[in-house]
């Protein structure tokens, strides 16, 4: 089935195109919009974006593979990015990453069996003074301790039930 955006998101596309002098420039914002709905960038999404931006699917494919934030396969409902770069590492990000893996029962890069969480490592997310930190979906969680992590995850798990 070809990919289609929801009516609300479809309306947003007009606004996106109006920001740029050509259609190609809308490629990355459109990919984000599609990924928000679909969770990942499937071949159908690539086809959709290529048609809208009037470029080849090969171009869109090239863009998708360049940027880490585009998921090239399905992911969990919540994306957890734990920062591992120096400032956070100096404040214990290793311990947080280990705790997350144990608590979720997955390794970095994997998705929990219930499909709720995908755990990944990120490079510096511009919160170095508040490390260790993680980004879950659109929210920064800073100055983490294992206890704080438990609380955040339990809340998210509770919501899903």
């Amino acid at each position: 089935m070809p990919f289609a955006l929801s009516t609300e998101r479809e309306r947003e596309t007009a606004d996106i195109f109006s920001r740029y002098p050509n259609k190609l420039a809308a490629c990355i914002p459109l990919l984000h919009l599609c990924q928000e709905q679909n969770g990942w960038i499937s071949d159908e999404v690539i086809q959709f974006v290529a048609e809208r931006c009037e470029v080849s699917t090969a171009h869109v494919q090239g863009v998708v593979t360049f940027y880490t934030l585009f998921n090239q396969k399905p992911v969990g409902k919540h994306q957890i990015w734990v920062c591992r770069t120096l400032s956070c590492a100096l404040r214990g990000s290793d311990q947080i990453a280990r705790h997350l893996q144990k608590k979720l029962g997955v390794h970095i890069g994997e998705t929990t069996k219930d499909g709720l969480f995908t755990l990944r490592e990120a490079e510096c997310l511009a919160a170095c003074g508040q490390g260790p930190m993680m980004l879950i979906d659109k929210t920064y969680h800073e100055n983490l301790t294992p206890e704080k992590v438990d609380k955040i995850l339990d809340e998210l798990t509770g919501e899903a039930k």
Partner: protein, 449 residues
């Protein structure tokens, strides 16, 4: 000398500081109104007088950069604001966008006037969701108030601002990579020449500036360039005003602080950063983001020549040198983003270096061989070394690889990756050697306290 000020950060503590109402109640948009009524040359002149050095890392004077822009007979000009904030250790631009987005938008209006553009794009890294939301909300407010649009303040100089986001790639902070990313392409840096001022965004004349650089311009127009510059102790070196300083790592009160230029490393670490945690001592500082070569706490300034920039500090501790673009360069490092990473004596320098090298190995765009192969190779060697399995020959090899990257690449990422390596090899050779001799057991072991 520590002179805390609240110029850029003046609205940070106010409730709802991100709204138009609060911004205007503090005199907001008066500078844009002024600048739009001035001739372009006068705007540039004021920013030149301010000695505003780029806050994105390289420290290039903003006024001079603006003066490179020439109107094109058929093409529009663009101002592009670099809000990629990807340099490890750097977390300052985010505070501007989250707490005072209107200041950045006002800066965009002044910047557009200065470079002859009518459109500004703010390129924000995708992860900064709150920053993006606040910016879009502020843009909508400014548009409905008629501040952005065809006739801001009744002046016939249309200005609009757009937000664009990346998708997770450190290299997109490099300005030509950023332009490709904005055009909907892979974020691969471009060959120069042509420079962005001639052939930038969509092939049009373009100026790229950092968020903080642009957000500082309203204060410059308000205070006057000269008065702004004179707040700095390094005014005589053409390094003017106040700026945001950050400190992270092994300090008690990490954070972002505004101060006049003239602030020393010691003041940043001990007065603003609250000093080191109980039972630890200062070992090293990376002054302005991870690409800046590391300094050791016990280093002494050696500048016997009385014409040398650092001569006034000859024989003193490097910690007492004011953090400026030229002073840090003379120390063999860089002021960069003036967001320092502090390492105590409980941190293992080998692991710190490994953490950084791994970052760069992960982020090369892969276009040029010395960078792609070199950073990957350094990453593999460091991976072995950190396990305590390397050799002395490999330390020398690391030095050679890093030296061969320098100057042989399309973009400055190559240097950014090589310089920390060379810095650590120079400053921490005894520790590296000892680490090897003891199979990795001799060090304090980790990074966290």
């Amino acid at each position: 000398m520590l002179k805390p000020v609240q110029i850029l950060t003046r609205n940070y503590g106010l409730p709802e500081s991100w709204t138009l109402q609060v911004y205007q109640s503090q005199g907001g948009y008066q500078s844009a109104k002024k600048a739009l009524s001035w001739p372009q040359a006068q705007v540039i002149e004021e920013v030149k007088k301010a000695n505003l050095r780029g806050r994105g890392g390289a420290g290039f004077p903003a006024g001079i950069k603006w003066s490179f822009m020439r109107p094109h007979p058929t093409k529009p000009a663009y101002l592009v604001v670099n809000a990629d904030e990807g340099e490890p250790g750097t977390f300052k631009d985010r505070t501007i966008m989250e707490r005072d987005p209107h200041r950045l938008i006002e800066g965009c209006m002044i910047g557009c006037r200065g470079v002859g553009a009518h459109t500004a794009y703010i390129y924000v890294r995708h992860e900064l969701h709150l920053a993006k939301d606040r910016l879009w909300a502020a843009i909508r407010e400014a548009r409905s108030a008629g501040i952005l649009g065809p006739r801001p303040f009744g002046v016939d100089y249309p200005v609009d601002v757009q937000v664009h986001t990346g998708a997770g790639a450190y290299i997109c902070g490099e300005e030509t990579s950023l332009l490709n990313s904005l055009e909907g392409k892979r974020g691969e840096p471009r060959f120069r020449p042509p420079f962005p001022a001639q052939f930038g965004l969509f092939g049009c004349p373009t100026t790229v500036n950092n968020v903080e650089t642009i957000a500082t311009t309203p204060s410059i127009i308000e205070m006057g360039g000269e008065a702004f510059s004179r707040q700095s102790e390094l005014h005589h070196l053409g390094d003017g005003g106040s700026r945001l300083f950050g400190v992270s790592g092994h300090v008690r009160t990490p954070g972002i602080y505004e101060a006049c230029i003239g602030l020393t490393l010691r003041e940043l670490i001990y007065d603003l950063g609250g000093g080191l945690p109980e039972g630890t001592k200062l070992m090293a500082i990376i002054p302005g983001g991870s690409s800046c070569p590391v300094l050791r706490a016990e280093e002494i300034v050696n500048a016997p020549d009385d014409k040398a920039i650092l001569h006034p500090w000859h024989g003193k501790s490097i910690l007492d040198v004011p953090i400026g673009v030229d002073t840090m360069r003379e120390l063999g490092t860089m002021a960069g983003t003036t967001c320092a990473i502090v390492l105590s004596d409980k941190a293992c320098p080998v692991r710190a270096l490994h953490n950084l090298v791994r970052f760069y190995a992960h982020e090369s765009c892969g276009q040029c061989t010395p960078c792609r192969e070199g950073v990957g190779w350094m990453g593999r060697i460091m991976g072995k070394l950190v396990e305590g399995k390397g050799s002395i020959e490999e330390l020398d090899m690391l030095y050679d690889i890093a030296s061969n990257i320098m100057g042989n690449t399309i973009c400055a990422f190559g240097e950014a990756a090589a310089m920390p390596m060379i810095g650590f090899l120079r400053k921490f050779r005894p520790e590296l050697v000892q680490y090897l001799h003891t199979g990795g057991k001799s060090s304090t072991g980790g990074l966290a306290l």
